[in-house]
């Protein structure tokens, strides 16, 4: 008996909540309803009773997968309020951590997408290679997730010189992996049939919803905070913004794979350019004022706005994760698609919570309601893959 794995992108959730309701006419989706709130933990309110330092730890736990992007935006925000500039070495270290996270997050997504499509080998391999990155992060920061590295004015821990050769080794192991997955997606006609033309988000809709990250760049919208509003060391290194124009799930997948390659290049440059020096300027306070900080998480722009009254606690702390804009755009991306593809499209924006655990499908004509469990969705998806495989590879 095969094992059924909670598939949804990242947040294997429980049975009952109807996060997504698909309305279908016949076999095609006519509209999508989305319900949020199960993960709402009141972080913005909590932030008002945390010190500025503690806020960084708090926001790190908004989402575990891009856990360093929120601290990145937070320190950018705090430094914006106080016109604080962290030392150069700290900026390089921050960049290295952020890019390592991008690699592990994209590998994670590739794996889960592969699993959903019925390519379990892809899942196992990508997560196996992801362990290289997790090990590296544990070596450098002390934790596989939630690195506790950032603070306004610098970083908490230095990168030891003796660890650096190990980083280069790990990166060398990752380079062929990128080529492997790129080739696997590019050369497989079945994957093409499953992913190309599926869930297309037009550039106009991308703009209307304000989508960000690979979701935007896969639809031809060339935005990337690292390029547009450079922070940390991103202005000191060379890398490409990966933009495609198809807007479909295929484009989103390839964007992520290519971004892994760019991340490797960024890290190498940082390590080569980094000089010895201070890692923290030991600021004493965040002055009164307001500030905005952003970072390019694996999913897209993370945006923090904060108001300081000069005390140790934020008067207001606003967080916007990239998935907030991206998930809503699904309401147009799934129209006209089949149920089997709908779950994949929902996953393709790489949401920071999993709601493809359970889908309710309502037939607009008969008004019949049917619930698709995780196992049903997996079955549907894999059945489609197998049918395509039969047809194309006969």
């Amino acid at each position: 008996m095969s094992t059924v794995i909670p598939i949804g992108p990242y947040h294997p959730l429980q049975e009952e909540p109807e996060f997504f309701r698909l309305h279908v006419e016949g076999e095609r989706v006519s509209s999508l309803e989305i319900e949020l709130g199960y993960n709402h933990r009141g972080i913005e309110k909590l932030a008002e009773s945390k010190s500025w330092d503690q806020v960084v730890f708090l926001v790190e736990r908004i989402c575990g997968i891009c856990s360093t992007s929120h601290p990145a935006a937070s320190v950018n925000c705090q430094e914006d309020i106080g016109a604080i500039i962290a030392p150069e070495r700290a900026q390089y270290i921050r960049t290295v951590i952020c890019e390592l996270e991008r690699i592990h997050s994209h590998l994670l997504w590739v794996g889960l997408a592969g699993h959903f499509l019925g390519y379990n080998t892809v899942w196992m391999w990508s997560w196996k290679y992801r362990e290289i990155v997790c090990d590296l992060l544990e070596k450098i920061t002390g934790n596989r997730q939630s690195y506790a590295m950032f603070k306004a004015g610098g970083v908490r821990r230095d990168l030891d010189n003796e660890d650096i050769p190990g980083v280069f080794d790990a990166l060398d192991q990752l380079k062929p992996v990128v080529a492997l997955f790129r080739g696997a997606i590019h050369d497989d006609p079945v994957l093409h049939a499953r992913l190309k033309g599926v869930g297309v988000l037009s550039p106009e809709d991308a703009h209307a919803y304000g989508v960000v990250g690979p979701t935007a760049r896969a639809s031809g919208v060339p935005i990337d905070v690292r390029k547009d509003d450079p922070y940390f060391a991103y202005g000191w290194v060379d890398f490409q913004m990966i933009v495609r124009d198809e807007g479909d799930v295929y484009a989103k997948a390839m964007c992520r794979v290519d971004e892994i390659e760019q991340a490797v290049l960024i890290i190498e440059q940082c390590l080569k350019q980094m000089k010895p020096g201070a890692i923290d300027i030991h600021i004493k306070e965040i002055p009164a004022g307001e500030g905005i900080g952003r970072a390019e998480a694996p999913r897209g722009e993370v945006y923090h706005y904060a108001l300081s009254d000069g005390s140790n606690f934020p008067a207001r702390y606003k967080v916007r994760a990239p998935s907030y804009t991206n998930i809503l755009s699904n309401e147009v991306a799934v129209i006209g698609e089949s149920v089997a593809d709908a779950a994949l499209i929902l996953a393709a924006v790489d949401p920071c919570y999993c709601c493809t655990e359970r889908l309710t499908v309502i037939d607009s004509v008969t008004h019949q309601k049917e619930t698709y469990r995780q196992s049903d969705l997996l079955q549907l998806s894999r059945a489609k893959t197998n049918a395509l495989r039969e047809r194309l590879l006969r």
């Binding site: 059924v4 429980q14 709402h40 972080i43 909590l46 575990g64």
Partner: protein
């Protein structure tokens, strides 16, 4: 009853229930299935429905919106079973203590048999915790 528990400890089927988490613990749970940790060789399987579960792995803060759902899921899990709370949030909220969305702890809603601390606990920690529980169950039956 004790015979059932004995059977239960030989090959545990686990159902994963997240109740308002950041996904760190959830990903590390999934990670247990991947080649490095491979809990399947220990007889543990992650399943897609609570109806066949021997153990519930619970993460997260038990936000208000989740409570009715969690109770409904727990009804479906056959008895006897074990409930394992994973991660600092599931133990007692941790940094989310005081949030208006989660006034209750996981163990106020579900009868927890095992607590695995960490933010997140490493896969090795989770496996060790479950192994400890199995050992305890075997001793008492």
């Amino acid at each position: 009853m004790s015979l059932k528990l004995k059977t239960l400890t030989r090959s545990i089927w686990v159902y994963h229930l997240a109740t308002g988490s950041c996904n760190n613990c959830d990903i590390e749970i999934l990670d247990c299935l991947t080649p490095r940790f491979d809990i399947e060789r220990l007889g543990m399987q992650l399943i897609g429905s609570p109806c066949h579960a021997d153990a519930l792995l619970v993460t997260g803060n038990m936000t208000l919106k989740n409570i009715p759902r969690v109770r409904a899921v727990y009804e479906q899990v056959p008895k006897p079973n074990v409930v394992i709370a994973i991660g600092t949030c599931a133990l007692g909220h941790g940094i989310f203590e005081g949030s208006y969305t989660s006034p209750h702890r996981v163990d106020e809603v579900l009868p927890v048999d095992l607590y695995i601390p960490g933010c997140p606990p490493k896969p090795e920690g989770m496996i060790a915790g479950v192994a400890k529980l199995i050992g305890l169950l075997r001793e008492t039956t």
